[in-house]
């Protein structure tokens, strides 16, 4: 199993896109150009409905834990309280995961 050391920003971005691809495939939704990182996950003209977002978050948490041994809670009160949602775009979500991992390292939990 790759360790947390292999979990750089680029890997996390790939993970987010791969999960997003899987969620959209399950819903039989046409796949947009996911190379365009500016796609919106939530809000108006969003790719995902609320259930799709829940599925994406659960899938990401499981992949991070199973593939890299990193246990994160992505949708906690901290995430919900942010004025600018960390779930608004794939990039924002990638940045948020990076931030949480850095915080875990700083607290010695990772």
């Amino acid at each position: 199993m790759p360790s947390q050391e292999h979990l750089d920003r680029e890997t996390i971005a790939r993970l987010v896109m791969s999960s997003l691809h899987d969620v959209l495939s399950q819903k039989d939704q046409p796949l947009p150009d996911l190379a365009n990182g500016a796609v919106h996950l939530i809000g108006q003209q969003a790719l995902l409905d609320s259930l799709g977002l829940v599925t994406l978050i659960v899938d990401l948490e499981q992949r991070l834990e199973e593939d890299y041994g990193v246990a994160l809670v992505l949708a906690d009160e901290q995430a919900m309280a942010q004025r600018s949602s960390p779930f608004r775009t794939p990039q924002a979500l990638t940045e948020y995961i990076c931030l949480l991992i850095e915080e875990q390292k700083a607290h010695g939990r990772a």
Binding site: L51, T55, V58, E61, Q62, E65, E66, A71
Partner: protein
């Protein structure tokens, strides 16, 4: 992935939980179970976890272990529960915390972590245990019955939230059954409860497994958010 169905049952050390283990092993399933204290028995095709269901880390570790070893989870039965019979004026706050932690928080945690596994295959059956003390409004059981009423509401809302993932959530609510849970309840009080039932006898494990079998059948995919009270309450 395991070829046999995998079932997780909480509170398996004794009582109804133990009966459920025997029942599902006999049906040829792989059974996983947990209790806080170690077992004094063992059974082929049964794997035990020393877990306090109110402990989030321990519940997550148990579900991770099931995912690693079986890569599937078909059925969950939230049976773990504790009771304390007392008049409200004599009930310590610590007792309330303890009962709510095991009965409600524990059921919530096991439901949440199990549903994360089940949603991968878009299939799952969750059965939570409540009690006839909820509709019977039994004196002396205010906290225990409230914790189980919370489980009923939790289950009915989960039924909506998890239906899109192919997961059904239902409740079986037994009458008093001769287990350790009612060991300290005076016989005359048990008799008064039995006298209020339509069918005037104590329940038995077979009464519970019969309803559980109905809820967990693959054909019961149109049955969710339901509560079945035993004994004709």
């Amino acid at each position: 992935m395991a070829e046999r169905e995998v079932v997780l049952i909480t509170g398996t050390r004794k009582g109804i939980g133990r009966c459920l283990v025997d029942h599902f092993v006999r049906k040829g399933m792989l059974v996983e179970g947990c209790s806080r204290e170690p077992l004094d028995w063992a059974l082929e095709h049964y794997t035990h976890h020393a877990v306090d269901v109110a402990d989030e880390g321990q519940v997550k570790a148990m579900l991770s272990s099931i995912q690693r070893r079986h890569a599937r989870l078909d059925i969950v039965i939230n049976n773990a529960g504790i009771a304390s019979m007392n008049h409200i004026l004599l009930t310590p706050a610590d007792t309330v915390d303890r009962i709510m932690a095991t009965n409600f928080r524990g059921t919530f945690l096991v439901c949440r972590e199990s549903a994360k596994l089940m949603q991968r295959r878009r299939y799952g059956r969750i059965v939570n245990l409540a009690t006839v003390a909820v509709p019977m409004r039994l004196e002396g059981e205010a906290i225990y019955a409230s914790s189980k009423a919370a489980i009923v509401t939790l289950t009915q809302i989960l039924a909506y939230e998890l239906a899109p993932f192919g997961i059904t959530c239902n409740v079986v609510a037994p009458t008093p059954i001769a287990t350790d849970l009612i060991r300290h309840v005076p016989p005359e009080k048990i008799q008064r409860i039995v006298d209020r039932l339509a069918i005037k006898r104590l329940g038995c494990c077979g009464d519970v497994t019969n309803v559980v079998d109905f809820f967990v059948k693959p054909e019961s995919d149109y049955i969710t958010g339901q509560v079945i009270y035993l004994g004709g309450v």
